[in-house]
C-alpha cells in the first residue's frame, strides 16, 4: 500500500517546513559552512521540540509519534530537511535513540534519552563499520577505526558495533571515553560533519552493552535500514526541490525569444527527471513502509531504494545544473548545495554498488 500522510502528519510536515524556512533558510545554511558542528545548538533544540528526535521512541520512554512506530513521520521530517539542505544530525540521533529505547537498560535510557529527545545532546552511530572487540573478563576491549561517522565529533554518545569471537555486539560509550579519539574529517557537504572515531583498547563494561548479545546482528541491520530510509527521504526531498527550482527557471528564462520550457529536448529531459523523481519517491516510501511494518522484505526494499536513488539523484541534479546553464556551476547559486548533499548521501551508508551486491547475494548467493 502506498503511504498516504494523514491530516495530522501533513500538519506536522508543514510545521517543520515553516520552521526551516524561518530559522534555517539557505543563507543560514551557507553561513554555517565553517561552524565546527555545522549547526546551531539552539536550532537543534528547537527541532527537537518539534519532535524531530522523539519519533522512534515510544511514549513510555519519553518519545512520541503520530504514526505507529514513527518512521513514516520521521520520513516527512527528512524530506523537508532535504528540501532545505538543512543541517543537524537527524539520522544518527534517531537511530541511536531508537536503539536505546529498544534495547537499552533502564539506566541507559535514563542517562541518554532525555538529552537526545530534548536536543541537548546528540549521538553518533558507529554501526556500519564494526570495530574489533576482545573479551576481557566481564569487559569488552574495543580497538579499531570507524569512519566516516556522522556527527562523530559532536556526539556525547557513540553506539558502536563490535565484532567479537562470539559474533556482533553493541555498546554505547561516551564520546569522551578513555581511548576514544575523534578526529573531524573534511567533507563535501557544507554543513554535514563526519569524523573518524578511533578506539584504542577502550574498556567497556557490561552496563555499556546494549541489548541481548544474540540480537545484535539483527539490531544493527535494523539500524542500517533506518539510517538508509532517513537518508533516502532526505535525498528525495533534495531532488524534489532542485527539480522545482529548475522547472521554474525554465519557465522564466527566455532564449531566442521563447521560454526555455518550450524546447522539446528540454521538456523531454524534464519528463524523464520527473519520472526518476516519482520513482525515487515511490521506492523510498515503499522501503520506509517495509521497515516500519517489520516486513521480511525490508532489507531488500531498502537496498533497492539505495541502489536506485543515489545515482538517479545525482544525475537528476546534474541535469538541473545543465538546464540552468553557467549560473548552475557558480557558488552563488544554491544547486551545488543540493548536489553536495545528495552526493554525500549516495556514497554513505553503503554505495549503490554495495546495496546492489546485497540484492545480488539474495538472488545469486554470496560470492564464494
Amino acid at each position: 500500500m502506498e503511504f498516504v500522510p494523514n491530516d495530522e502528519q501533513i500538519f506536522f510536515q508543514e510545521t517543520t517546513r515553516k520552521f526551516l524556512s524561518v530559522h534555517c533558510p539557505i543563507p543560514v545554511v551557507r553561513a554555517l559552512e565553517s561552524a565546527p558542528a555545522g549547526y546551531d545548538p539552539q536550532y537543534w533544540r528547537q527541532g527537537a521540540d518539534l519532535g524531530w528526535t522523539s519519533l522512534l521512541v515510544p511514549a513510555e520512554a519519553g518519545g512520541g509519534s503520530l504514526s505507529e512506530g514513527g518512521l513514516m513521520d520521521l520520513v516527512l521530517v527528512a524530506e523537508e530537511m532535504g528540501r532545505m539542505v538543512s543541517p543537524g544530525p537527524l539520522a544518527p540521533v534517531n537511530v541511536v535513540a531508537s536503539a536505546v529505547a529498544a534495547g537499552g537498560s533502564a539506566a541507559q535510557q535514563a542517562a541518554v534519552l532525555p538529552g537526545l529527545l530534548s536536543g541537548e545532546t546528540v549521538a553518533a552511530w558507529c554501526g556500519e563499520h564494526p570495530v574489533e572487540g576482545v573479551i576481557d573478563g566481564e569487559n569488552l576491549l574495543l580497538s579499531g577505526l570507524a569512519s566516516p561517522v556522522e556527527a562523530g565529533a559532536q556526539a556525547q554518545h557513540l553506539l558502536v558495533a563490535v565484532r567479537t569471537e562470539g559474533g556482533l555486539r553493541q555498546v554505547l560509550v561516551p564520546g569522551d571515553a578513555s581511548g576514544v579519539t575523534v578526529t573531524p574529517l573534511g567533507g563535501l557537504d557544507l554543513v554535514r560533519r563526519f569524523a573518524e572515531v578511533r578506539f584504542d583498547q577502550v574498556v567497556t563494561t557490561p552496563a555499556e552493552r546494549i541489548g541481548a548479545d544474540e540480537d545484535a546482528a539483527e539490531a544493527i541491520e535494523h539500524q542500517l535500514q533506518i539510517a538508509c530510509v532517513v537518508q533516502c527521504a532526505e535525498t528525495v526531498g533534495a531532488m524534489s526541490r532542485a527539480f522545482e527550482m529548475t522547472l521554474e527557471y525554465l519557465g522564466d528564462r527566455y532564449s531566442f525569444g521563447r521560454p526555455l520550457a518550450s524546447y522539446q529536448a528540454l521538456k523531454h529531459r524534464m519528463a524523464d527527471n520527473k519520472m526518476w523523481l516519482e520513482a525515487s519517491h515511490a521506492v523510498m516510501t515503499a522501503a520506509a513502509g517495509a521497515v516500519a511494518s517489520g516486513s521480511p522484505a525490508a532489507g531488500e526494499m531498502v537496498s533497492a531504494a539505495k541502489t536506485w536513488i543515489g545515482p538517479h539523484a545525482t544525475e537528476l541534479i546534474q541535469d538541473c545544473v545543465q538546464l540552468h546553464g553557467g549560473i548552475g556551476v557558480t557558488w552563488e547559486h544554491d544547486l551545488h548545495l543540493y548536489l553536495r548533499r545528495t552526493t554525500v548521501n549516495r556514497v554513505t551508508h553503503g554505495t549503490p554498488e554495495y546495496h546492489a551486491e546485497r540484492i545480488a547475494t539474495q538472488l545469486l548467493g554470496a560470492v564464494s
Partner: protein
C-alpha cells in the same frame, strides 16, 4: 456498497480460487495462439460464474462494484493460478473501461456482461498507416447516411483483431473543423463484410498485430460511443486507460499486471548467470541486481501513481509515468539480457533453439512497449505538458480545417 471487509473478501477469494481455478503449471505460454485464447475465454467464464469477474466494474452490468483494494487483494491471491490475463489488455483495462465511462445504458447492458463472461474480446482501432503518433490526424472517414455511418479507410497496430469480436474505432466525421473536433468513436463489429483484417508479421516472427481495411462498412448511429464529432474526448480517456493498463495501474485488470510482468520480477536473468557458472562475477551480479531493483521500483511506482490518481492528488495523465517507466525498464532489461547472453545470442544449437532463439529475437522487439500504446515520445510530451505545465509543442495543424492540413511525404 459491500459490507464485506477487504480481508474477508480476500479469504473468500482464496478459498474459491483454490477450488475453482487451475493452478499455474510451468511457464506461461509466451505467445498467445488461438488455443490459448480459447482457454482464457473459459477461464474468464469461470471467474464470472464464481462472481469474481470484473471486480471493479459496476454491479449493474455484471461486475463486482467494489473498490480497487478488493481487486488488488484478488489479484494477489490469484498469482498461483492460471488466469485469463490476456483479457486484461486491451479488453478489460482499456475498452471495457472506456465503455463504462461513455456508454449509454443500452450499450453497457449489451456489451459489459458479455465481456465479463469472456464472450467478447475487444480491441481499439486508433492508429493509421499514415498517422504515427498523431492519432487525431485520422484519415479514416465515416459519412452519415440516414441512420447509418458508412466507414472507409484503414487502421493499423490493433492487437489480435483477427481473433477479437468488437472494436472501438475512431473515424473522421467532419472535415471542415480542426482535427480534434471532427472525430467520432464507433463501436464496430469486427467480423462483418466490408472489413478485411490482415495480420502483420513482426520482427520476432509473431503475428499479433493487424491492419484493417474498411470498404463501405455500415455502422448504426446507435453504435456511436459518446457524441458525434466528440470522439477525441472518448479517445483521450481511452488513452488514459491504456497507459494505466499497460503501465500496470488499471483498477479494472485482474491477476498479474503488465507492469510487473515486464519489469523483471522473474528469475530468468539470475538463472542464465547461474547456468553459465558465472554467479561470482561482480559485474554480472551488478547487472542482475539492477534488473531486479528496476522491477521493485516499478512496482512501487505503480502503487504511488495509482494511489495518487485514485485520491485525486495526481492527474490521470500521471499514468504516462507508469507507461514510460515500464517501457524504459523493458529496454534496459533486454540490454542486460543481451549482455548476459553473450555469444549465445548470435547462434544456437538445435537442442536449445526454442529458448535461445526467443531470447535473442526478443531483443529485436525491445522497442515494442516503447512504441505501442503511445510512444515514449508521446508520454514525455504528456508528462512535460500536462503534468509539469510546460508549453505545448507547436502544431502546424492547430485551428486549421482538417482538409487543409499538410500531411507529409512519400510514406504518407
Amino acid at each position: 456498497m459491500t459490507t464485506e471487509s477487504v480481508e474477508e473478501f480476500r479469504h473468500r477469494a482464496r478459498a474459491w480460487l483454490a477450488e475453482a481455478m487451475p493452478r499455474l503449471s510451468g511457464a506461461m505460454p509466451d505467445r498467445l495462439d488461438d488455443n490459448r485464447r480459447q482457454v482464457e475465454r473459459v477461464l474468464q467464464r469461470t471467474l464470472w460464474e464464481g462472481g469474481f469477474a470484473g471486480i471493479g466494474f459496476p454491479a449493474e452490468y455484471g461486475g463486482g462494484g467494489l473498490a480497487p483494494e478488493y481487486q488488488r487483494a484478488f489479484s494477489e491471491e490469484s498469482l498461483p493460478y492460471d488466469m485469463p490475463v490476456s483479457l486484461n489488455v486491451p479488453t478489460l483495462g482499456i475498452l471495457a473501461a472506456t465503455l463504462v465511462d461513455f456508454g449509454t445504458h443500452e450499450q453497457k447492458a449489451r456489451h459489459l456482461p458479455a465481456i465479463l463472461r469472456g464472450e467478447e474480446l475487444w480491441v481499439q482501432f486508433l492508429s493509421e498507416p499514415s498517422g504515427g503518433s498523431d492519432l487525431a490526424g485520422c484519415l479514416t472517414r465515416a459519412d452519415r447516411d440516414g441512420d447509418l455511418f458508412i466507414m472507409n479507410g484503414s487502421k493499423i497496430w490493433s492487437s489480435a483483431a483477427f481473433v477479437s469480436d468488437y472494436a472501438l474505432c475512431l473515424a473522421r466525421t467532419n472535415w471542415d473543423v480542426p482535427k480534434h473536433r471532427g472525430l467520432t468513436m464507433f463501436i464496430v463489429k469486427i467480423h462483418q463484410p466490408g472489413i478485411q483484417v490482415e495480420q502483420i508479421r513482426q520482427v520476432d516472427g509473431s503475428m499479433e498485430f493487424c491492419q484493417e481495411f474498411f470498404d463501405d462498412v455500415p455502422i448504426p448511429v446507435a453504435d456511436v460511443l459518446g457524441e458525434v464529432d466528440d470522439g477525441w474526448t472518448v479517445a483521450t480517456r481511452l488513452l488514459v486507460h491504456e497507459r494505466n493498463a499497460v503501465g500496470g495501474g488499471s483498477p479494472y485488470t485482474s491477476g498479474r499486471s503488465g507492469g510487473h510482468e515486464s519489469s523483471g520480477q522473474d528469475d530468468s536473468l539470475a538463472q542464465m548467470v547461474r547456468q553459465q557458472g558465472r554467479a561470482g562475477d561482480t559485474h554480472l551480479r551488478q547487472l542482475v541486481a539492477e534488473a531486479h531493483v528496476r522491477g521493485l521500483v516499478g512496482g512501487a511506482l505503480i502503487q504511488r501513481v495509482t494511489s495518487g490518481v485514485s485520491r485525486g492528488q495526481m492527474l490521470p495523465s500521471a499514468g504516462s509515468l507508469l507507461k514510460l517507466f515500464s517501457a524504459t525498464n523493458v529496454m534496459r532489461r533486454y540490454e542486460i539480457g543481451l549482455e548476459l547472453a553473450g555469444e549465445g545470442a548470435a547462434a544456437w544449437p538445435a537442442s536449445s533453439a526454442g529458448v535461445a532463439q526467443r531470447l535473442s529475437e526478443a531483443t529485436l522487439w525491445r522497442q515494442g512497449l516503447s512504441l505501442g500504446g503511445g510512444s515514449n515520445e508521446i508520454q514525455r510530451n504528456i508528462i512535460s505538458e500536462r503534468l509539469l505545465g510546460m508549453p505545448r509543442e507547436f502544431a502546424a495543424d492547430r485551428d486549421v480545417p482538417y482538409r487543409d492540413v499538410r500531411r507529409g511525404g512519400a510514406r504518407g
